[in-house]
């Protein structure tokens, strides 16, 4: 996420509404264009046996492009209402303090599986953001993972992801 207009303090805006509107509209345009392009390549015309596979998505891509262009124009010309702050610096830091650990958590799931990653994630989150003691965090983190493990692996017999790098719970036989 781009941060602009460096204003000191915690209350300054990190990103303005119009910037964000333009960025999102531009991205939508890119998505629409790639949808239309890729659909055109697999055939977006009318064959003897009816519409080809790309027919429907092609026009969807075109409509996304058209709408995003209008939104982009409105954003650039300032017709989307006043240029408020999209998010201020303080709140942005708050959001990031949830989003960043969540990203590492998903990466953790990818590597070492859902149960151990969840226990670590809950513990770290509680200690870091909630200022709880390590002991409390660890107890709750492990407890949630154990409940999830018993519920899914043992009770409902729905196996969850065990990690692509190595499976720390392999010794349990699951």
């Amino acid at each position: 996420m781009s941060t602009q207009a460096p204003t000191p303090g915690d209350d300054g805006q990190a990103v303005s509404m119009h910037t964000m509107e333009s960025v999102v509209a531009a991205q939508l345009f890119a998505i629409g264009a790639s949808v239309a392009y890729s659909s055109w390549n697999i055939g977006a015309r009318w064959a003897d046996d009816g519409p080809q596979a790309g027919y429907f998505p092609f026009y969807i891509g075109v409509i996304i492009c058209a709408c995003s262009l209008v939104i982009l124009l409105q954003a650039v010309t300032g017709r989307l209402g006043e240029n408020k702050s999209f998010v201020d610096r303080g709140p942005l830091r708050q959001v990031m303090s949830v989003l960043m650990p969540a990203t590492f958590y998903v990466l953790g799931i990818q590597l070492i599986g859902i149960y151990v990653a969840s226990a670590i994630y809950i513990t770290v989150f509680m200690v870091w953001l909630g200022r709880y003691s390590w002991l409390r965090g660890l107890v709750l983190g492990v407890a949630v993972s154990v409940v999830a493990f018993v519920m899914f692996e043992v009770w409902f017999q729905v196996p969850l992801f065990k990690g692509s790098l190595f499976n720390p719970l392999g010794f349990l036989g699951y």
């Binding site: 509404m17 964000m20 509107e21 999102v24 939508l28 998505i31 790639s34 949808v35 890729s38 659909s39 697999i42 055939g43 046996d49 009816g50 519409p51 596979a53 790309g54 027919y55 429907f56 998505p57 969807i60 409509i63 996304i64 709408c67 995003s68 209008v70 939104i71 999209f86 998010v87 709140p91 942005l92 708050q94 959001v95 303090s97 949830v98 989003l99 650990p101 969540a102 990203t103 958590y105 998903v106 799931i109 859902i114 969840s118 994630y121 809950i122 989150f125 509680m126 909630g130 200022r131 709880y132 709750l140 949630v144 999830a148 899914f152 409902f156 729905v158 969850l160 992801f161 692509s164």
Partner: protein, 500 residues
């Protein structure tokens, strides 16, 4: 009277001890889900859906729909006690509910909210009982063009009745359609929009999108607002309940009006959230005490709650009778039907009578059970909210991740969930509506199929959509709604010209 008989058979199906137990479990889970920020009706049901795969479909849908009722009830608790809407549809309840709690009338506000929710839902269920079989019988005659026209109407009504920029509504909706198209084409078997990634062959599952958009996105939003739960205490005792019930009949006009608004907004996919705002606004304008709204009027709680529940319940009517959901939560329930091997749509009323009437009967019972549970357990639920956010937030993220994984046992889906979470956060802040996107993602394939089948029938002639009065009428109505923002603009500029 056929419906009454069928309904009693439905009660017989729903009233087994196992199903009644599931009903109470569902309501309890639902209220907890409704109370917690980040977990709502749609994503809560999406997460729990995989756990019901082994149950008989009737029991499964009874539990899931009860979660939905519970979530509808639960939203009101946080609105009144904490001034934090647990669900978008209970935002309007905070306007008068929280002031009442501040004046120490929390019990009264909650009783009014729960009772009006119950009445709204009850009226909607009665309507479903008698209207849904009619609509289904009517829809049995539908061919592909008729079905496409109904899909078309559904999507156009988002544009016509939406509040924000029509371009954003269309863009969000089309994004949903594009995501739905990813993967194998059902007609030709060709791969579409996979850009060479084999993992994308499976396509995007809307359950993952729902969990990300509404779950992770909501957590990010709550974090930004820096939630601190400073709640009011609530005591509900039988005396307060009876005294509140005594004054509720005074507001019967408001109730009736809100029921009508709610049912209408639920059947046409306006949804519970706009219905609650609209009902509040109309009540404020029409009421004798309109000036006092916002300072703690019982009527200001009755109006939005009745409408939200009526809308939330009647959103199941098109889902059951046509296979077209009226809200994201109804869409998730519809996804459940497909997974349990039931084809939603008019044939359901003919082929799976037990299922349909069991579900409808459980709506009556579920709402009664819900009213009893919420009236008796409010302090318990309020206590959940006093658990600090730094404990609740990571647990909800973990639950969402598990839910996203279990949909297809795919690790990639957890990454998609995270991505959808960020999209949900940005879209919410920029006022891109999420409901049309989710519905397009659910219905995209089927809307496309019915379009292509119609085209095959007519050999590419678009006039097939105007070939008889029924399909032509629905298409015309759809087009009217699609261009409604434009038409409205022309009219209002004319009016201002005339005034000048």
């Amino acid at each position: 009277m056929e419906e009454i008989n069928a309904l009693f058979q439905g009660f017989a199906v729903a009233l087994t001890p196992f199903n009644v137990m599931l009903m109470f479990v569902g309501i309890l889970l639902g209220v907890v889900i409704g109370v917690l920020p980040g977990l709502g009706g749609a994503n809560g049901i999406a997460i729990l859906l995989p756990l019901t795969f082994t149950m008989p479909p009737t029991s499964a849908i009874i539990m899931l729909s009860c979660i939905y009722w519970g979530a509808l009830f639960g939203g009101a608790i946080t609105s009144v006690l904490f001034n934090i809407p647990g669900e978008p549809w209970s935002v309007a309840t905070t306007f008068d509910g929280y002031p009442m709690a501040q004046q120490g009338r929390a019990g009264e506000a909650l009783t009014a909210a729960f009772t009006s929710s119950f009445i709204g839902a009850f009226v909607a269920v009665v309507m479903i009982t008698f209207l849904a079989p009619l609509v289904a019988r009517f829809a049995l005659e539908f061919g592909p063009p008729e079905f496409f026209s109904v899909y078309f109407l559904t999507f156009c009504s988002f544009v016509g009745m939406g509040k924000g920029s029509p371009f954003k509504i269309v863009a969000a909706m089309m994004l949903g359609f594009a995501l739905a198209a990813v993967g194998m084409d059902t007609v030709t078997g060709q791969l579409r929009l996979t850009f060479g990634f084999t993992d994308l062959m499976r396509g995007f599952d809307f359950l993952v999108a729902v969990i990300g958009l509404f779950g992770i996105g909501e957590i990010l939003l709550s974090m930004e607002e820096g939630l601190s739960f400073q709640g009011r205490a609530a005591k509900i005792n039988p005396k307060i309940v009876i005294e509140t019930w005594k004054q509720l009949p005074k507001y019967w006009v408001t109730s009736v009006r809100s029921c009508v608004i709610g049912c209408w907004m639920g059947i046409t996919p306006g949804g519970a959230t706009p219905a609650s705002f609209m009902a509040y606004g109309v009540a404020k304008r029409m009421s004798r005490d309109g000036q006092k709204f916002g300072t703690g009027q019982v009527e200001g709680v009755v109006a939005p709650e009745t409408a939200a529940h009526a809308a939330g319940t009647s959103a199941l009517l098109p889902m059951l009778s046509l296979g077209i959901p009226g809200s994201p939560t109804a869409a998730v329930l519809l996804g459940g039907l497909l997974i349990w091997g039931l084809q939603p749509g008019p044939l359901l009323f003919v082929e799976k009578k037990d299922f349909v009437w069991g579900l409808i009967a459980s709506m009556y019972l579920g709402n009664i059970a819900g009213l009893i549970i919420v009236l008796t357990c409010v302090p318990l639920f309020a206590a959940i909210l006093r658990v600090p956010f730094s404990i609740i937030a990571p647990i909800i993220v973990v639950i969402c991740a598990i839910g996203a994984f279990t949909v297809h046992n795919a690790m990639l889906d957890i990454w998609f969930m995270l991505l959808f979470g960020v999209i949900g956060y940005v879209f919410k802040k920029l006022d891109y509506p999420m409901a049309p996107m989710v519905l397009a993602l659910v219905l995209g394939d089927r809307a496309e199929d019915s379009f292509r089948q119609s085209m095959l029938i007519s050999q590419g002639d678009l006039r097939v959509f105007f070939s008889n009065w029924l399909v032509g009428g629905i298409m015309a109505l759809g087009l009217l709604l699609l261009f409604w923002p434009l038409i409205g603009k022309v009219f209002s500029s004319r009016r201002t010209h005339a005034m000048a």
